[in-house]
C-alpha cells in the first residue's frame, strides 16, 4: 500500500476540468471533490450535488421575522401601553408595515447566511482545508482518493488526457496544515 492519499489533477481551464470529470466518471472513478477559484455552472449536476434548500429556510425565517415584528408592535403599542395619537386607533396596521417588512428582511438574511456558514462549515478562524494552494488562484483541481482508487497510473493518464497541466500525488490530505 503506498503512502499516497490523494491524487490531484490541476487544470488551467474550466472546460478541460469538466472534460476531466467526465473522463473519470466514465471510468467509474469516484471523485472526492473539486476545488475551483470561481463558481462553475453545471458542475454540481455532474457531481450529483443536490439542490440547495437554503431558499426554503430563508422563506420561513423571513415569515418568522414578519410575525415577530407584528407581535412586538401589537403587544407593546396595542396591548401593553396604548398611545393616544390624535384619537386614532391603537391598531394602526398600515403604520406597522415598514417595521414588519424590515424585520422580515433582517431575519431572512441573517438566518440564510447563518445556515449557509453552518452547512458549509465556515466560521472565523476555521483551519482552511486546502489540498492545493493554487485552487483559490488560477487552478481548477480534481481530487481523487488514492486509497480507494488503486490504479494510480490509469487516473494519471485520464487526467493528463483531459488536459491537466499537472498531476500531483499528495501524501497528506490537506497541505495547509502546519
Amino acid at each position: 500500500m503506498s503512502n499516497i492519499k490523494y491524487i490531484l489533477g490541476s487544470f488551467g481551464d474550466p472546460d478541460d476540468l469538466m472534460h476531466g470529470i467526465e473522463q473519470l466518471q466514465a471510468n467509474n472513478i469516484k471523485i472526492h471533490d473539486v476545488y475551483t477559484p470561481m463558481p462553475i455552472h453545471g458542475i454540481e449536476a455532474k457531481l450529483g450535488i443536490k439542490r440547495s434548500r437554503l431558499d426554503i429556510l430563508a422563506f420561513f425565517c423571513g415569515i418568522t421575522g414578519t410575525m415577530s415584528a407584528f407581535a412586538l408592535i401589537y403587544l407593546t403599542s396595542v396591548v401593553d401601553w396604548k398611545h393616544n395619537i390624535g384619537g386614532k386607533p391603537a391598531l394602526a396596521l398600515p403604520d406597522f408595515i415598514p417595521i414588519m417588512f424590515e424585520l422580515t428582511i433582517l431575519f431572512c438574511a441573517f438566518s440564510l447566511v447563518g445556515a449557509y456558514y453552518a452547512s458549509t462549515h465556515l466560521f472565523p478562524g476555521r483551519a482552511p482545508r486546502v489540498m492545493d494552494l493554487r485552487a483559490t488562484d488560477d487552478r481548477f483541481i480534481i481530487a481523487v482518493d488514492a486509497q480507494t482508487n488503486v490504479d494510480h497510473g490509469k487516473i494519471d493518464g485520464l487526467l493528463k488526457d483531459a488536459g491537466a497541466l499537472e498531476v500531483k500525488h499528495n501524501e497528506r490530505k490537506y497541505i495547509s496544515y502546519e
Partner: protein, 490 residues
C-alpha cells in the same frame, strides 16, 4: 458553462490581450500585497486629517451639546439631517450594483460591485454617526430601541417614521455587511493562500476556512441570489422610509406623496456619481483599466442621466402640484424656495442635478474620463444642496412671520461635514490596502465569455457576421485600454 460564446455585439467587459486567471489575481492583489505608493499615502494623510477634524467636531458637539451648531428654534434641522440623507443616498448605489444588477444579470457589475458595496458600508457608517450626534444626548441613543418602560421611557412610538428609520437603517447596514462579507470570503482565501507568516494567519481567520469546493460554491451562488432578491426591496424601502421622515409631517414643502420615488431616484443618482468619483481615480492609481473599462464608465453615466432626469421631473412635478393643490402655504413654500433668500441654493441644486447631467447625452462627454469625473462631483454637490433646500427652506419660514429665521452654520457644522468626508475616504483607502477592490472570482467567471481577447479570437476564426464585427470594432474606439492597432488590419 464558462465556454459559451457571447454575442460579438456586446462590448467587452475585460480588455487586454494577455489576461489569464493568474494575471487577474496578480493585478487585483497588487495594492494588497505590496507597499502603498505615494498617491495612496497623500490621500490617506489628507483623509486622516479630515477624520481627526471629525473626531474633534463630534467630540465638541457631545461635550457642549448641539447648541454648538448653528440651529435656532425655527430651523431645528439643518446640516445634520442634510448630511445624513446625503450619505444614506450615496450608499444606495452599492446595493443597487450588487443586488439589482445581479437580478438583471448585468455582468458588468462583476468588476465594480466590491468597491461599490464597500462604499455603501462606509457611507452608511457616516450617515449613522450623524443620527447619533444629532440626538443631543448620544449616551441615551438606546432609547430609539423598543425597550420597556423601566429603561426610563415609554415604549417607542411605532407609528413614527423616525422609529421605522431606525429599523430600516440598521437592517440595511447589517444586511449589506453580510452580503459584502460573504462575497469577500473567496477573495480573502486567495490572499491567504498566497501569503506567508503572520499575514497568512490573519487572513486565515478572516477567510472562515474557505476552500472553494463545489458544494460551497454552489450554495454561495444560491445565497447571493437570495440576498440580492431581498436587498432589492430593502434598498428601495430604506430611502422610502428616509423620505417619510419628511413626507409624513405637515410642513409645507415636505408633505408630499412624491417623496419616496423621488428620494430613491435621487439616492441612486448620487450613489452612482460617488462610485464614479472613487473608481475613476482608483482604476488609474491601482492600474485596473483592463477591468473597469470605458463600458463600465459609460453604463454608469447612462444610469446617471436616467436617474438625474427622474429627479428633474420630480422637481417640476413638485412645483406643479404645489400650484395645482391650491394650498397657499404650499405655493408660498415653493415660490420662496426658488426666489426667496435661499434662491441660490435652489438654483445650485437645479443646475447641478437637472441641467449639467444632461451633458452626458453627448457621447464625447460620457466617454471622457475628466469630464465624467468633474460631472460626478457636480452631481454630489447638487444632491447635497437638494437635501439642504428641502430641509432648510421648508423650515426657515415658520407659521408666524416673527419667528422667521435664517440658518448660518458654525465651524462645528462645517467640521462635522468635512470631517465625515475624511472618515469616508480614510475607510475607503484602508479597504483598498487590505482587501481586494475587485471581486476576483466574479471577474474570472466572465473571462472566457466577455473578454476582449476571447472576442478577438472569435473574429480571427472568421465565422461571424461581418456587419456585426464592424459594429463591435467601432464600439471599441472609445476604450482607453484597448490597443486600436490590433483591429486596424481586420
Amino acid at each position: 458553462m464558462s465556454g459559451h460564446n457571447e454575442s460579438i455585439l456586446r462590448e467587452p467587459l475585460i480588455t487586454g490581450q494577455d489576461i489569464t486567471y493568474a494575471k487577474i489575481t496578480n493585478d487585483v492583489l497588487m495594492p494588497v500585497e505590496n507597499k502603498p505608493n505615494r498617491a495612496w499615502w497623500i490621500g490617506f494623510i489628507l483623509s486622516l486629517c479630515g477624520a481627526t477634524l471629525w473626531v474633534v467636531a463630534v467630540g465638541y458637539t457631545f461635550w457642549f451639546g448641539i447648541g454648538a451648531w448653528g440651529l435656532n428654534k425655527t430651523v431645528g434641522w439643518a446640516w445634520d439631517i442634510t448630511g445624513f440623507v446625503w450619505w444614506v443616498g450615496i450608499g444606495h448605489a452599492g446595493t443597487l450594483i450588487s443586488a439589482v444588477l445581479l437580478l438583471f444579470r448585468q455582468n458588468w457589475r462583476n468588476s465594480i460591485n466590491r468597491s461599490a458595496e464597500a462604499m455603501t458600508i462606509f457611507a452608511v457608517i457616516c450617515a449613522a454617526t450623524y443620527v447619533v450626534s444629532h440626538m443631543g444626548r448620544p449616551w441615551l441613543a438606546y432609547w430609539v430601541l423598543p425597550l420597556p418602560n423601566q429603561f426610563g421611557s415609554l415604549w417607542v412610538n411605532f407609528n413614527s417614521p423616525l422609529v421605522w428609520d431606525m429599523f430600516a437603517i440598521s437592517t440595511y447596514f447589517s444586511v449589506s455587511l453580510l452580503f459584502w462579507y460573504t462575497g469577500l470570503l473567496p477573495d480573502i482565501a486567495t490572499i491567504r493562500d498566497r501569503a506567508t507568516g503572520v499575514r497568512r494567519k490573519i487572513y486565515s481567520i478572516f477567510s472562515f476556512g474557505w476552500n472553494g469546493n463545489v458544494k460551497t460554491w454552489q450554495r454561495f451562488e444560491a445565497v447571493s441570489l437570495i440576498l440580492a432578491g431581498i436587498s432589492t426591496p430593502l434598498v428601495l424601502s430604506v430611502h422610502t422610509i428616509v423620505s417619510m421622515d419628511f413626507a409624513t409631517s405637515v410642513i409645507p414643502g415636505w408633505h408630499t406623496t412624491i417623496f419616496p420615488p423621488y428620494f430613491v431616484a435621487g439616492a441612486i443618482f448620487s450613489g452612482f456619481a460617488m462610485v464614479l468619483t472613487l473608481l475613476l481615480v482608483a482604476r488609474k492609481v491601482l492600474g485596473l483599466e483592463n477591468y473597469i473599462t470605458m463600458f463600465h464608465i459609460e453604463s454608469m453615466n447612462k444610469i446617471i442621466i436616467l436617474t438625474g432626469s427622474i429627479v428633474g421631473v420630480a422637481y417640476i412635478t413638485e412645483f406643479f402640484i404645489a400650484w395645482y393643490s391650491g394650498s397657499e402655504y404650499e405655493q408660498y413654500a415653493f415660490i420662496n424656495r426658488s426666489t426667496g433668500p435661499y434662491w441660490w441654493a435652489y438654483w445650485m441644486m437645479m443646475t447641478c442635478n437637472v441641467i449639467s447631467p444632461q451633458l452626458l447625452w453627448f457621447k464625447k462627454i460620457r466617454t471622457s474620463i475628466p469630464a465624467t469625473w468633474i460631472l460626478s462631483i457636480v452631481v454630489n454637490i447638487g444632491m447635497w444642496f437638494e437635501r439642504f433646500v428641502i430641509i432648510v427652506t421648508s423650515l426657515h419660514r415658520d407659521y408666524i412671520p416673527s419667528s422667521w429665521a435664517m440658518f448660518y452654520p458654525t465651524w462645528v457644522d462645517i467640521s462635522v461635514f468635512v470631517g465625515s468626508i475624511g472618515v469616508f475616504f480614510t475607510l475607503f483607502l484602508l479597504f483598498l490596502r487590505v482587501l481586494p477592490s475587485i471581486a476576483m472570482a466574479e471577474v474570472k467567471m466572465i473571462l472566457k465569455s466577455a473578454s476582449e481577447q476571447e472576442k478577438l479570437k472569435q473574429i480571427k476564426e472568421g465565422h461571424l457576421d461581418k456587419e456585426q464585427v464592424k459594429e463591435y470594432i467601432e464600439s471599441l474606439e472609445k476604450f482607453d485600454s484597448v490597443k486600436q492597432e490590433e483591429y486596424a488590419k481586420i
